[in-house]
Symmetry: C2
Subunit: 218 residues, 2 copies
Amino acid sequence: MKLSESEENYIKCIYHLHVPGQGVSATLLAASVQTKAASVTEMLKRLSRKKLINYKPYHNFTLTELGNKIALEVIRKHRLWEYFLVEKLGFDWHEVHTIAEELEHISSKELIHRLEAFLGSPSFDPHGDPIPDRFGKMKTVRQTCLSEIPEKKLVTVNAITDQSATMHELLKHYGIHIGTKIKVNRHFSFDGSVEIKINKQPLITLSRKAAQYIFCTI
Amino acid sequence: MKLSESEENYIKCIYHLHVPGQGVSATLLAASVQTKAASVTEMLKRLSRKKLINYKPYHNFTLTELGNKIALEVIRKHRLWEYFLVEKLGFDWHEVHTIAEELEHISSKELIHRLEAFLGSPSFDPHGDPIPDRFGKMKTVRQTCLSEIPEKKLVTVNAITDQSATMHELLKHYGIHIGTKIKVNRHFSFDGSVEIKINKQPLITLSRKAAQYIFCTI
DNA sequence: AAAAAAATTTAGGTAAAGCTAAAAAATAAA
DNA sequence: TTTATTTTTTAGCTTTACCTAAATTTTTTT
């Protein structure tokens, strides 16, 4: 089935907004695709007609099996392109999202298949999000946010869930990126800050706010 | 100025169809963008309003300076992506055109700038067509088609102007591609066929039809 | 449980990009 | 130079994807 760019975007957003057991509300989706609720309603009817969502007027909705599959295909393309932009073209990871939003709609299956091979079939994108394989399967990594890692543990940064330029600035300053090995020295319960050590560098302290967005594997 | 994919396609086609002194006719353009003459008229009015073409109803039209600049930007993107698809992803050159038709509309300037650098700023795409640089400048190579190369001359294949799968099959069979060095041994005026030699391989004969599409530099 | 608030849908409208059929202008032929 | 043919434009319609404003339904509050 050939979908429009718009349809693909709605599907993708529904996937991201979905809360198990509750589905997705129209208002949330409207904000997410940057449009008005009335426009969402129209699109919902279309997506429903195409059997991509389960929809009953005035109620929350969910993706069908087919809708889910398509969402994963778009997300797969998005993340592979992000990986390409960072690893091959040298973009910073906070710059690539917007460009990947365009590239994710290029339709050729063969292209994405070859791109994946060219990149060495990565399992995670530069933000640490898992890249679905061609069957829609993703690696699930049990990752914990830095403020919840026990003291004295050595961990590896695996994902950073805030993509703002300001967060990027902070991480760059401390030399923290995907793959960085961090030893958690101490937690201060007063303000939730964490004292950490990277390699042989002097100890540094991260605020609770920053630590919350840094996910690691043990 | 942000143009739609459709507008960019029209501009690109006008560029390709343009004949110096005569401009472009609506019927030709309609065939080229795969639409009807009536739809072309509407688009011409829009492009004229945006100062991208010089248009007077019922007459042929031409690109303005600005229109020309935009055409070259689209062509630049198209050819750089084709180069990427062939050189990095390993596509055959006759498969890449359709995919590049989609990729050429990705808008990020930074992306295309980095892509160019990543590819090593190539001057010609896999079909041998010149790639405009970021100022719209293209290398002009005096190239001659194989059936017009004098006997005993050693030349280098520089462009192949037929992109069909059948032509591709033929060239693959003989091991002819961009960059191949060919020595023209003899022309047969009876049927226009050419006897050639590639490296130390045995002599082979190409039909006039094939030779016509193979362009070389001396 | 009725009233108020919030969420969702309907109704009616716009712009882009296409279509067919008919009218008008330009070009070619007699 | 008329007439015929071809080319181009206009008129009127369709679909996608948005919009605002008003009506409806659901949810929350009193």
